[in-house]
Symmetry: C2
Subunit: 310 residues, 2 copies
């Protein structure tokens, strides 16, 4: 029974799927399945088993999850305790969506580390479901993105999601049907803001094109390949330049809220607390609204880097 096995088990039970846990941990699916098998053998109980839709915990599994979760939490505490005792830099692990990780959150974190000092920040990308599980299991300290259930969420910023396309794009009578939607990976997460948009407009999968990042989706949109959802103030410069134009559509644009989500204050890490306070400052607002005011991504490397935690 290793801590890694327990971590895997907890994550599988939270996410309800071996596959999802593997994705969240950034490893192959058999790796997770095998860790689970080892734990099952050690404890001589299936712990969790497939059951039609999703997986279901056995009675023993239910009891072990809560214990295992505590153990994983304590492991985090132990490392944090040592760091703190020795005056080392705190470690703040942030998760966010793919979209936000491209500009807004790095800019925010860059401003944060410059202001706070003595904090080392790492940034990870995850889906909404994963973000919730990661925060609850304290594999991440704080999540930036949509409101997560089960943890303390706080609205930070209001932003507008618009559709952009080639300036000459004409919407025919049938609205948007037939047009391709050009999205970044966040679009594949149905619980993300962009994913919810696709669902709401009943966009068939065949009409969704996923790009590695938003910039790529925009340039495809500028080339007339379709429409791209975009955070309005992020694309404003392109629109002003005439490279892109906002596209009208029913229920568009839509105003959304950006949240920071973390555990309740007792269980929250110190760094998470500091970031929660920081996001309410004007400095934070400015960084998020004008992410380009910052520096290129390469400059973030020492204090801020993007990774998926193993």
């Amino acid at each position: 029974m290793t801590l890694a096995q327990l971590k895997v088990f907890v994550l599988v039970s939270r996410l309800g799927s071996v596959r999802a846990a593997a994705a969240a941990l950034g490893v192959s699916e058999p790796a997770v399945s095998q860790a689970l098998a080892a734990l099952r053998q050690h404890l001589d109980d299936p712990l969790i088993a497939r059951s039609g839709a999703g997986m279901e915990l056995t009675p023993a599994g239910r009891r072990v999850v809560s214990i295992a979760s505590q153990m994983v939490n304590l492991a985090v505490d132990a490392e944090a305790a040592v760091r703190q005792s020795n005056g080392a830099a705190e470690l703040l692990r942030v998760v966010t969506t793919s979209t936000l990780a491209q500009a807004i959150v790095p800019a925010l974190l860059q401003a944060f580390t410059a202001r706070a000092g003595g904090i080392e920040v790492s940034l990870g990308v995850a889906t909404t479901d994963e973000m919730a599980a990661l925060v609850e299991e304290r594999l991440a300290d704080i999540a930036v993105g949509p409101r997560l259930p089960g943890v303390e969420a706080e609205a930070v910023m209001r932003y507008r999601l618009t559709l952009v396309g080639h300036p000459a794009l004409r919407i025919n009578g049938g609205g948007l049907s037939g047009l391709r939607w050009l999205v970044d990976p966040t679009g594949t997460d149905p619980k993300s803001d962009v994913g919810a948009l696709l669902t709401k407009h009943r966009v068939p999968e065949s009409q969704i094109m996923v790009f590695a990042n938003e910039k790529a989706a925009w340039s495809a949109a500028a080339a007339g390949d379709g429409v791209a959802p975009a955070i309005d103030h992020m694309v404003a410069a392109e629109v002003d330049r005439g490279a892109l134009a906002r596209v009208g559509a029913p229920d568009m644009p839509v105003d959304l809220l950006l949240y920071v989500c973390s555990l309740e204050s007792q269980r929250r890490s110190n760094g998470a607390d500091k970031l929660r306070r920081f996001v309410r400052t004007p400095d934070a607002m400015q960084a998020m609204y004008r992410p380009d005011s910052g520096v290129p991504v390469s400059k973030f490397r020492p204090p801020v880097y993007v990774t998926l935690w193993s």
Copy 2:
């Protein structure tokens, strides 16, 4: 950071010595030292360091001990939870002194398992200091022997410690000085009842002979090699047969109490609770006072076996 490493660290800090922890775990001293080194490297802190007499925790070490202790405890909980959920036999881990492990405690546990049913018992041997640490760290469920500090102790039985020797042994004017003391391994534990006896009589080390078990010490005493401390009712048959005789000495015989010691009831395992109740029954008394009424040791193997836990 593995659970084994944490267990080692906790044990070292409780026992104040790498050596003692190694003995308690039944492994070599470098094994413990190395596990500690790995943890130190992982956490980048010495955690605990030599300091004249004994070892001292660093600030970080102090914080980690309590967290690590909780983790080790939870690991025990997890295994117990699974066993219980699946209706498997409970596991009761008993520690006792070398002396008591030879007859009294096996007889007690044999009676206990026969009466209680559905409980699997294992018996380990340890020194007094180790027993306290093992119970506190829940590496054992219950200890039988001298009163342990820091845990709930309950007197079970009064027994008399006498000195026996060859029937023709004559005590010269100078009392016992010059006689050899023939003891079992418990005699090397200064906090055990026998060890305390040796200390009280200021027996120099050169006059102490350690035998593998009490029977061996008795037969040496019967051969006239010296005097042996013995539990009175255990040696009564030999005295009646004339093979041994009680030897008078200042402050001897001495009446002592046998205790069962375990954690407070909230943290106590179910089996420990049952054993605590059982020891108050007449059946238990009879088993302890007439251990030979039971069966040969080999018959204990399925329900009761002696081991040091790894």
